[in-house]
């Protein structure tokens, strides 16, 4: 069993966040967001530390962390590919993009490639409906996708990574 005694994350990083929010009630989500920005996801020992310092039970922190789609309990790939599932994207064929990505990367919604390069997540409307179908890879948005266009974007990133 993975208990808090086998801590492996550098907790001093989250402690700084916790200090910043000490005494501000209702900051749990903001703390989790910052912690995730630090660690890339929410490791169990970090959740425990947050619970301890905010006076919440770990069960409550877990409850919050699993309610919102933004939070991740597992590490993700270097490139987070977020495929928009909005109405306009749906009408304009996002399902075909999803299928093409699945075939290319071998992973579906929530998956991470074995080499740790890509994670795929189907997300709620990104609000770029006029460019649908749309995906985001990390901070960059790509619109008016076709299956071929999506694949060439992925392949370009992969080629860049292989080179160096």
């Amino acid at each position: 069993m993975n208990t808090c005694s086998c801590s492996k994350s550098d907790l001093t990083l989250v402690d700084k966040v916790l200090e910043e929010y000490a005494g501000t009630p209702g900051s749990l989500i903001a703390i989790l967001q910052k912690a995730q920005a630090i660690y890339g996801y929410l490791p169990a020992d970090v959740i425990y530390r947050i619970a301890e310092k905010t006076g919440n039970s770990p069960a409550k922190v877990m409850g919050v962390a699993t309610f919102y789609t933004q939070f991740r309990l597992e590490p993700v790939g270097k490139y987070m590919l977020m495929l928009c599932q909005g109405t306009a994207c749906h009408v304009n064929g996002s399902e075909r993009i999803a299928a093409a990505i699945q075939e290319e990367l071998g992973i579906g919604d929530g998956g991470t490639t074995e080499d740790g390069l890509f994670s795929v997540k189907h997300v709620a409307c990104l609000g770029c409906c006029s460019l649908s179908p749309v995906m985001m890879i990390n901070e960059d948005t790509y619109g008016s996708l076709t299956p071929d266009k999506a694949l060439s974007i992925i392949r370009e990133i992969r080629a860049k990574e292989v080179q160096g």
Partner: protein, 583 residues
């Protein structure tokens, strides 16, 4: 000459960032040129857009601009010969898109630099706040809003003044003002555009509201999916605070109110006001029971008022121009203007602000230019997961809260997704139920399990496994979920099913009884075939087929084995002789 690059999320997604970088290089050293940015003008289908200004005058609007166009733009700016960029100048008919609109909430969008408070100030910015703090009592402000007839633009259309008054009159304190910027309806992005393009207008509207209800703190709850909006709003708040537009003793008055942003973390249900409050308090976003209403017991169980972004964006204009001027627009029941995000199979997709009372046809055909590729209009989806699909026969419905509700759809927050003949309406219902089932908070039975069961039934219908009685079962579930669900999300979740059943029942019946998708969209129900009289035996389709389902020899007609066919459509795309058909 000022060269202004449209840097809303859409523009950036279309490549505005690279265009800006290219222009930066090319314009360097041209003394008459200055490079700047603006937000989203709402002509998203033309992005990236670059505007050339002479002073305050828009001289030329360039569209679909690529980084490679920077040379020509620089040359045009330097020489003053704007004909050099005629090639990428907006076409006359596309200008209709803006000309036919009436912009209040979007009045600064795509016009000012969202990163610069001075740009906003130069365009009447913060004058309404000055007027309110200097000359009006809170009651007078509420009265002015009452006269305007402004109603909640988030979807429900509840009179804004009434909520303000309730919060003002509520006992206890401190009081909170909350902006719901958790724009969750898929297909709606006007709130994002306002924050990204005109954040001060939101801040000003909120400060006026805060004064009216007596709030000491204002919070903007922004979706996590809108990082650019958060950055721009953070910057604007900082500028406004430095300029004394918020914080302690605003504009030298006795009134103090500070403002902060709370980023959501991805949960559609947090658009429901009590769930939003739970989320603000750091909890799972599970709706509370009403009553008590937030006006009496909201954030930290204190009196709280919640409005959405577009609602606040109208406030300063109303104060400056008068409530009666706002009320002069619109219909008996619905006053002022409304912003719509026009998307889907539309020629000109983007942000449309029109006075209430215009018809759907005017928005979709006159402003939006009709259906892409000149296909047949089938329906327009309004109100997102809580709304419904309105068919062609109701295109002349005026945009008005009551009249739209009568169709079974709702005004909603303003998403308007247009569908053509190739959109399956059962598939649309399934799409929305996929969404609500995923987004249900899981608290109440009717929503948690009910939406899941509806989604399962719709899935099997679209997969050709529909059973006799499924339509009736869906109707029964719809009625019970509407009645039994705890919050708005569940109570309205059946609407996409009910409206498609109401207007497109024959499509459901075709799926269930004939195992056919009339729109040709449900993969499991499609049959691909090759017309032997058209097939020349080029073997292209057989080579493309990933399932090895196509047989045939060179120069002889090929055929598809329906048992092996996985309905991927690659053969259809590959055939150059029009021999492959799908039905």
């Amino acid at each position: 000459m000022r060269v202004i690059v449209g840097e809303g999320s859409c523009g950036l997604a279309a490549g505005a960032g690279k265009v800006y970088e290219a222009l930066q290089t090319k314009l360097e050293g041209i003394e008459s040129a200055s490079l700047g940015i603006t937000g989203c003008v709402g002509m998203c289908w033309l992005e990236p857009i670059v505007d050339l200004y002479n002073g305050k005058m828009l001289a030329k609007r360039l569209v679909h601009v690529a980084p490679e166009d920077a040379d020509d733009i620089a040359a045009a700016v330097q020489s003053g010969d704007l004909s050099l960029v005629d090639r990428i100048t907006i076409r006359k008919e596309d200008e209709d898109f803006l000309r036919k609109q009436t912009r209040i909430a979007l009045r600064h969008c795509g016009v000012i630099d969202p990163a610069d408070i001075n740009d906003y100030m130069a365009d009447d910015g913060y004058q309404a706040l000055e007027k309110v703090l200097g000359t009006m009592t809170p009651e007078e402000v509420i009265e002015e809003i009452k006269v305007s007839g402004l109603a909640g633009r988030g979807g429900a259309g509840f009179p804004t003044w009434f909520k303000w008054k309730a919060a003002r009159n509520a006992a206890g304190g401190p009081k909170y003002l909350i902006c719901n910027a958790d724009e969750g309806d898929p297909g709606a992005f006007m709130d994002r555009a306002v924050i990204e393009s005109d954040p001060h207008s939101l801040i000003e509207g909120m400060m006026i509201a805060a004064y009216a209800i007596g709030a000491a703190e204002a919070i903007v709850y922004v979706r996590a999916e809108y990082p650019l909006a958060i950055v721009r709003l953070e910057n604007a708040i900082k500028q406004a605070r430095e300029a004394g537009k918020l914080g302690k003793n605003i504009l030298g008055s006795d009134f103090s109110c500070d403002m902060r942003i709370k980023a959501g973390a991805g949960a559609f249900v947090c658009g429901e006001e009590t769930a939003l409050i739970e989320s603000l308090e750091g909890n799972r976003g599970m709706p509370r029971l009403k009553p008590p209403f937030p006006a009496n017991s909201g954030y930290w169980h204190k009196p709280s008022n919640i409005n959405n972004v577009e609602t606040f964006a109208n406030v300063a204009w109303i104060i400056l121009n008068g409530g009666d001027k706002f009320a002069a627009m619109g219909t008996e029941d619905s006053k002022g203007t409304k912003v719509f995000a026009l998307t889907g199979k539309i020629k000109r997709g983007g942000l449309v602000e029109i006075p209430m009372g215009k018809t759907l046809r005017e928005v979709i055909f006159d402003i939006g230019g009709g259906i892409r590729d000149d296909k047949e209009f089938k329906a327009v989806q309004m109100g997102g997961p809580s709304g419904g699909c309105i068919p062609a026969s109701l295109l002349d419905t005026p945009i008005d809260y009551k009249k739209l509700s009568a169709t079974g759809a709702i005004m909603g927050s303003g998403g308007m997704v247009v569908m053509d003949e190739n959109t399956c309406m059962v598939g649309m219902a399934k799409f929305f139920l996929d969404f609500t089932a995923k987004e249900s908070c899981g608290k109440c039975v009717h929503c948690r399990i009910g939406t899941k069961r509806m989604q399962e039934i719709l899935t099997r219908i679209t997969e050709g496994e529909g059973r006799e009685g499924d339509i009736e079962l869906l109707e029964e579930l719809c009625a019970a979920v509407k009645d039994g669900a705890l919050c708005g999300l569940g109570q309205t979740a059946p609407n996409p099913v009910l409206t498609t059943l109401r207007y497109f029942r024959d499509e459901y019946e075709a799926h269930i009884n004939e195992k056919k998708c009339p729109a040709g969209s449900c993969a499991a129900l499609l049959t691909y075939s090759i017309d032997p009289s058209k097939c020349v035996g080029c073997t292209m389709c057989a080579r493309k087929c990933p399932a090895g389902a196509i047989a045939g020899t060179v120069r002889n007609p090929h055929s598809i084995d329906p048992e092996k066919c996985i309905r991927c459509g690659q053969c259809l795309a590959a055939c150059r002789f029009g021999a492959v058909s799908v039905g």
